[in-house]
């Protein structure tokens, strides 16, 4: 089935099998491998992207459902070569260990801050319940999101 999707500002048209998951469309068809497959069972959040501005687990969505939508992946977050404040926060607070969960953590955190501009530590922990870090590096991830929220005027 033919779909047209705007990804990181660029319109892409492809013919896809209905059973192709969005995450495989992004990684295998378009080469956007920043988005990771972790658990592949809708739990870990490492495949998180934005669909029309909302955080989505792209392993739990068919590419055909995204027809006509706007998608942002981790590759589309930095504007004009400068890191997004959330990326800076993860850099400065060392919000990662192995880095595998990081793209999903950052995409989930950016979406979360849109709805909660002034989060407490508890808000951040609740907001990121859909993202798992198997290094258990949560402490610095929460610090990174807090730092980003302050930088973004929260």
């Amino acid at each position: 089935m033919k779909i047209s999707v705007k990804i990181n500002g660029k319109t892409v048209e492809r013919d896809v099998d209905p059973r192709m998951l969005l995450v495989h469309f992004l990684r295998d068809e378009l080469g956007l491998t920043g988005t990771k497959v972790g658990c592949d069972t809708s739990q870990c959040g490492s495949c998180t992207v934005h669909l029309n501005g909302e955080a989505l687990k792209s392993c739990t969505f068919f590419a055909v459902q995204a027809d006509g939508a706007e998608i942002t992946t981790i590759e589309g977050l930095a504007a004009n070569g400068s890191l997004h404040p959330m990326q800076e926060g993860f850099w400065e607070k060392h919000g990662l260990q192995c880095g595998y969960c990081t793209p999903g953590m950052i995409m989930a955190s950016v979406a979360f801050l849109k709805k909660h501009a002034h989060p407490t530590e508890e808000d951040i922990r609740h907001g990121l319940e859909g993202n798992l870090c198997r290094c258990t590096g949560y402490h610095n991830i929460v610090a990174a999101v807090k730092a980003a929220s302050e930088k973004m005027g929260g």
Binding site: D17, S42, E54, A111, E129
Partner: protein
């Protein structure tokens, strides 16, 4: 993981979805897909045709006008954030905010949730407590099903083949106090036990209590024994304890158990969370 192959069709109206369902016995509806797609990936279900209703905007509305109407495609995030839901039935907004995580709430829908009828889900419990009505449409027309009669067993509802959930209607609950108390599974956030209380009070005295348990049993169920215990009583500690004991006795051997929460434990927690829901409703 890839699901088995299927054909895909995007329906533009409820009428079209109903027609396609009638013509294809091995078809399933795709709404938010957050229960169906994981099941398809595990090949627990392998429909030949997916009818995508996710872009039918007329099913997405939430409006309050005499009763509160929630379109089947309203996402959990929208139900949780809706000013109308918070005003009419705050226990539902709270329950919706406790489902899964932000990503799941952004795409999972209330209609898909109830049609799936997972026993560990939250909306069935609060919808029965509210006395909600489920509106459905099939090839032979529309019908309305009381939420209490809708959930029949594990993953089993009163929906007939070919019927589509169109909206959920919640009656005017003004003057009633309500709350949902939930013990979440620490990883999945599904309800180990969830209890919803909707109370009609006259001063300190309970005129009527609607108490519903989910999570611990095969489908959300009214705790009618506990409701009877509280009717006409002052809701003091002794009354709550008596209601909890009645609820535990009613759940009895129906309590489900697994590696996280054995049946004995869940049964005991029904009593605890019943009391918490009532206390929370009373403020």
């Amino acid at each position: 993981m890839y699901p088995a192959k299927f054909d895909y069709y995007r329906a533009n109206s409820v009428e079209e979805a109903v027609k396609l369902l009638a013509e294809n016995s091995d078809a399933k509806l795709l709404a938010g897909g957050h229960s169906l797609i994981p099941a398809m990936k595990l090949r627990l279900t392998q429909p030949a045709l997916l009818i995508d209703i996710g872009k039918i905007d007329s099913l997405k509305n939430i409006k309050a006008n005499g009763s509160l109407e929630i379109g089947a495609l309203a996402t959990h995030a929208r139900v949780a954030a809706s000013a109308d839901v918070k005003k009419w039935f705050p226990a539902l907004a709270n329950a919706a905010s406790l489902i899964g995580d932000q990503q799941v709430r952004n795409f999972g829908t209330i209609g898909g949730n109830i049609a799936h009828a997972d026993p560990a889900s939250d909306p069935p419990t609060v919808l029965i407590a509210a006395g909600a009505t489920i509106h459905v449409r099939g090839a032979s027309g529309t019908r309305a099903i009381a939420a209490e009669d809708f959930f029949v067993d594990l993953f089993t509802t009163a929906l007939e083949p070919g019927e589509v959930v169109t909206k959920i209607e919640i009656p005017n609950l003004s003057g009633r106090k309500s709350a949902y108390a939930k013990m979440s599974h620490p990883a999945s956030r599904y309800a180990i036990v969830g209890v919803c209380a909707v109370l009609s009070m006259e001063g300190d005295t309970c005129k009527e209590a609607r108490l519903v348990v989910g999570g611990a049993v095969a489908h959300a169920t009214r705790l009618s024994e506990a409701e009877a215990v509280l009717k006409g009583k002052k809701l003091d500690a002794a009354a709550l304890k008596a209601a909890a004991d009645a609820a535990i006795a009613q759940v009895g051997d129906d309590a489900m158990g697994d590696i996280t929460a054995p049946a004995d434990y869940r049964r005991a927690m029904v009593g605890q969370y019943l009391q918490r829901a009532i206390q929370s409703a009373l403020g």
